[in-house]
Subunit: 115 residues, 2 copies
DNA sequence: TTTGAATAACTTGCAATGCAAGGTATATTT
DNA sequence: AAATATACCTTGCATTGCAAGTTATTCAAA
């Protein structure tokens, strides 16, 4: 078990969330993710993910000049991307609850009440 | 993206948590997971996981007779399994915070205040 | 005994995805 | 030119969840 295994299928949703906030470029996202607590996420993880999401029509990109280095590729959400993000948020909420249910493991079985 | 992809690297930790509560057998765990909200988790997922965890010394098992069917294989946590569970819980807490940070994405940047 | 269903554990082959390592390219400084 | 930082992309691999199938026990019906 590792931290990275737990991110499978979650990172892409988080990238959608990050992109929703404002236009960002790939290289910048590794810093964002690090700020959020994910640790240092490899570029070998980020770029293939962004390219796939673009291929699927979830994001679009435009190149803009940088003050120090090659052009940056800024990503934005499409309508489809917004919908996918909403669905991800629902899946995440469900997973979060499920896992917390499992690790709760209180001794009182059969007294969950009426929910 | 699918629900199952998001469970990678998380399910094993949840199984450890379930086993900690009390002795359980594999077939029963699919029902438990369903109760917790994971949906119907395949036996093809559960059994290989349990066998690996046993090979790694995280759990032990004893066979006990069933009232209806073949013998059940009840699992318990080893000391190593307890430690692994603690580490999983820490990783999960961190992931949970990181994801929630990422999806928070409030418009007010740089004005988070003191929480 | 045979057939069928429920319980219970295990195996095989496949698909999805994160990542180390490496490659390409631009701008600045020495 | 060489070194450093920025910025993007590709290849090959390991991990892990799962559909589908196998084996085996118990109970019920014929």
């Amino acid at each position: 078990m590792s931290q990275t295994q737990m991110m499978k299928g979650i990172l892409d949703g988080c990238l959608l969330a990050i992109i929703r906030g404002k236009e960002v470029y790939g290289y910048e996202m590794t810093e964002r993710l690090s700020d959020y607590g994910f640790g240092e996420v490899s570029e070998g993880t980020i770029y293939p993910l962004l390219m796939r999401m673009q291929r699927e029509g979830l994001v679009t990109s435009v190149k803009k000049e940088s003050t120090a280095g090659p052009k940056r590729k800024y990503y934005s959400l499409t309508d489809k991307g917004h919908k996918e993000l909403e669905e991800f948020l629902a899946r995440w909420k469900r997973l979060e609850k499920s896992v917390n249910n499992a690790i709760r493991q209180e001794t009182n079985e059969g007294s969950e009440g009426s929910g």
